[in-house]
Amino acid sequence: MAVFGFILRRSAQSLIAVIGLLVLVFFLSRLTGDPAYLYLPLDSSEAQRQAFSEANGFNDPVYVQFGRYLLGVANLDFGTALSRNRPAMEVALEAFPQTLKLAVIAMSLALVLAIVVGSLAAAKPDSLFDRIASTASLAGASAPDFWVAIVAILVFSVGLGLLPTSGTGTPLHWIMPIFVLTLRPFGLLVQVVRGTMISALASPYVKTARAKGVQRTQIIFRHALRNSLLPVITVAGDLAASLVNGAVVVESIFGWPGIGKLMIDAIVRRDFALIQATVLITAIAIFVLNILIDLLYARLDPRIRFQAK
């Protein structure tokens, strides 16, 4: 089947990219310094440090370490996270769903809201609704997320005491991270939806639909919207990738135990195995996301579908 072949081909291409990425991360992370200085007490002796490095294999030449790593990966052994004394992949796989849940909710929310708001704004350009939507979306797209996060904590947690400052546990803990993560994609997507919808609504096939006597809502949400979705999906895919990649800043501020926070912790602690595991997971997630977007393209636009065949 054409779709199956396409997925196979894209997966093969992705595999090459993932291997390249792993090589890069492997060598770059080793430039950050010697883990022995971080894991042993400050007053430990040179001999103790040597023993630590020897025990963890950091004294071997880098290419030997790399060979050992590749051998491990082939056997699905991704090394031990030094900072936690547990298998690195296990730690990363624990954190990833936390990020994924956040990303899926934030992205779905941003997409649905942006499509509705952007379409309605485009239906009547320069109306009051359009002006409010345009201004609000511009503000949302431009506000730095760390600033929004801190202000939100100040207002809702410190000031009003309505929401917890950080952590997980209750549904209330989800509100601020999701809000902050939704804001920027929402703002950007409203702008994209509005722009593409305005040109779609001016297109000849919309004129045909009007001449056929099709209802206004049908024209906006069936004829114009479906044609406007391709550029929207492109931008949304990009934004989703950055969310899956771990909303590093937002997860750190809200103490969210996701992959972004884990990655930062791993880098700070020079936990090489854990860095590699987190990068591998996010890379695979992003490649899967890209394949999904390509399939969605073909689903939405028959011209792409038939070209591919």
């Binding site: 000849p204 045909t208 001449a211 056929k212 099709v214 209802q215 004829h223 479906r226 028959p302 038939f306």
Partner: protein, 555 residues
């Protein structure tokens, strides 16, 4: 309507319609006091050139004018005695498609690319609450058959891009007549189509009119199409009606000077034996000899799939001499534009040779190729997209001198640009304007000035006048002919328009499916066409309705 009221005089009546369009420069009056009417079973043709306001009147009937920028200043539109201004939004919407339907010029862009044609046809039924689901689908299949789409059950699930131009227009017509409306507005329905397809579409419209008693309002700039369809004609110019009357009277005995110019502009006026604007001087030695030209396009259908090849040009040979015009005629897909692209080396050749002054174009090294390109220029069909909108006319015309540095010293550029603009009938002050400030005809003159800047010997015109109004076409052809006679230029003139080549070309090559089917001197080919396809092309030119036999009603 109460029974005591007298029935309305006409099915649809437009009275004193004045529409303005607001732009930054102020209001532009698109139509000015336009009145017309149409009745069941008759065809009213609104004839006019671009910018005459002919489409605006039709859009007003359908309520398709966006306000702003449009503004309907005055006028009433009455359908069966009911003023459409008195209708609510919902009532007005329901009229569209059900009672009054419309088809457009470019059926590809007017069909939604992401839905199947079946979905789009079924929508007509669902939007008016007539049928949904399987029932709507069955009706759509019926209609596809009625407008002449073969295998409607299979094709109903295909998308617009999977159909040819003529089939798409059939589908548009099918959608329009689906609910058996009383009035069909056709806005340039055949302008984007080949002549033979045009003939089929016009016949289809006539057939449907005969079957359903449709009132047709047809908007066109094409006099032949107008004559073949019209019972009555309105001629519009600059937003006003300048002449109206029964079709035959208007065409055979025009009263207004504008109508006279339009009708006399038709290049086939010299079909009676004149030589039109063919070359007056004897042609000289051949400058270009094309021998057994072949071009294949590979259509790769996947990584492992066997690639299909399209034989776009088959074994083409011809010569052209100084001061000569060779017309290449064919329908879309005949390979005529590929010939131009290959000869200019815009596309690579598959096999064959083309000797320009004895040197094979396809074997030229970069340096020689540059010199060759200076001598051979091209004028494209679309004068809108073939010019950089951010360059002034001076920049556009002088650009070749940046590339070929030996043509002219920089201090003399300005004078030469003004001279060239003068040669094509434009003024010196035009040099500092931008392309969007000119009309289509003026832009095509600029394109010709740009081609002349290189002192070429051969100009390839690919449908160079097809996008222009008839009266402008004739001006551009006159200009090309003058330049040929004065400068000894040779032209390869590629077109689908037979009257134009008859008027302008010395020899004609008729192409079909990439091969030459006939090649002869213009007069011979028109007097005594040898090949069946040539005859078919000539007969496809629409004939006036009053001369043609009436379309037989189906049994």
């Amino acid at each position: 309507m109460t029974p005591s009221q007298v029935p309305p005089a006409h099915l649809l009546e437009v009275k004193d319609l004045t529409v303005d369009f607001l732009s930054l420069g102020g209001a532009f009056r698109a139509t000015n006091g336009v009145s017309f009417h149409v009745n069941a079973g008759e065809t009213l043709v609104i004839l006019g050139e671009s910018g005459s306001g002919k489409s605006v009147s039709a859009s007003a009937i359908m309520g398709l004018i966006d306000t702003p920028p449009g503004e309907i200043c005055s006028g009433t539109i009455t359908y069966r005695g009911k003023n459409l201004d008195d209708c609510g939004v919902e009532e007005r919407r329901d009229l569209n498609g059900k009672k009054i339907a419309m088809i457009f010029q470019d059926p590809l862009s007017h069909l939604n690319p992401v839905y199947t044609i079946g979905w789009q046809m079924a929508e007509v039924f669902s939007a008016h609450g007539v049928a949904t689901g399987a029932q709507a689908r069955a009706k759509a299949i019926d209609i596809l058959g009625r407008v002449g789409i073969a295998e409607p059950e299979k094709r109903i699930d295909q998308y617009p891009h999977q159909f040819s131009g003529g089939q798409r227009q059939r589908i548009m017509i099918g959608m329009a007549i689906a609910l058996r409306p009383e009035i069909l507005i056709a806005d340039e329905p055949t302008t984007a189509l080949d002549v033979s397809v045009q003939a089929q579409i016009l016949d289809l419209l006539k057939k449907l009119q005969a079957e359903d008693g449709l009132a047709i309002i047809m908007i066109t700039h094409d006099l032949e199409v107008a004559a073949s369809m019209a019972d009555r004609v309105i001629v519009m110019n600059s937003g006003r009606i300048v002449e109206e009357g029964p079709a035959r009277a208007v065409f055979e005995n025009p009263q207004h000077s504008y109508t006279k110019t339009l009708i006399n502009a038709l290049p086939h006026a010299d079909a009676t034996g004149g030589t039109g604007r063919r070359s007056t001087t004897d042609v000289g030695k051949p400058i270009l000899e094309v021998k057994s030209l072949n071009k294949y396009y590979g259509i790769s259908s996947g990584f492992f799939a066997k690639s299909n090849q399209l034989h776009a040009v088959k074994d083409l040979s011809f010569t052209i001499a100084k001061g000569e015009t060779v017309g290449i005629v064919g329908e879309s897909g005949s390979g005529k534009s590929t010939v131009a692209r290959v000869l200019l080396r815009l596309n690579d050749v598959s096999s064959g040779e083309a000797l320009f002054h004895g040197r094979d174009i396809f074997k030229m090294e970069p340096k020689e190729l540059l010199a060759f390109r200076r001598k051979v220029q091209m004028v494209f069909q679309d004068p809108y997209s073939s010019m950089n909108p951010r360059m002034t006319i001076f920049d556009i015309v002088s650009e070749p001198w940046h590339i070929h540095k030996d043509i002219l010293d920089k201090p003399r550029w300005r004078d030469r640009v003004i001279e060239l603009l003068g040669l094509v009938g434009l003024n010196p002050e035009h040099a500092d304007r931008y392309p969007h400030q000119f009309s289509g005809g003026q832009r095509q003159r600029i394109a010709i000035a740009r081609a002349l800047a290189c002192d070429p010997e051969l100009i390839v015109c690919d449908e160079a006048v097809s996008a222009l109004d008839v009266s402008v076409q004739v001006q551009v052809i006159d200009l090309l002919a003058q330049l040929r006679d004065r400068l000894g230029l040779a032209y390869i003139f590629i077109t689908h328009d037979l009257p134009i080549v008859r008027h302008f070309a010395d020899r004609i090559i008729v192409m079909k499916n990439g091969a030459i089917v006939e090649h002869a001197r213009t007069e011979e080919i028109f007097r005594n066409p040898q090949h069946a396809y040539t005859r078919q092309l000539m007969n496809a030119t629409p004939r006036p309705k009053w001369e043609a036999a009436p379309v037989p009603l189906p049994a």
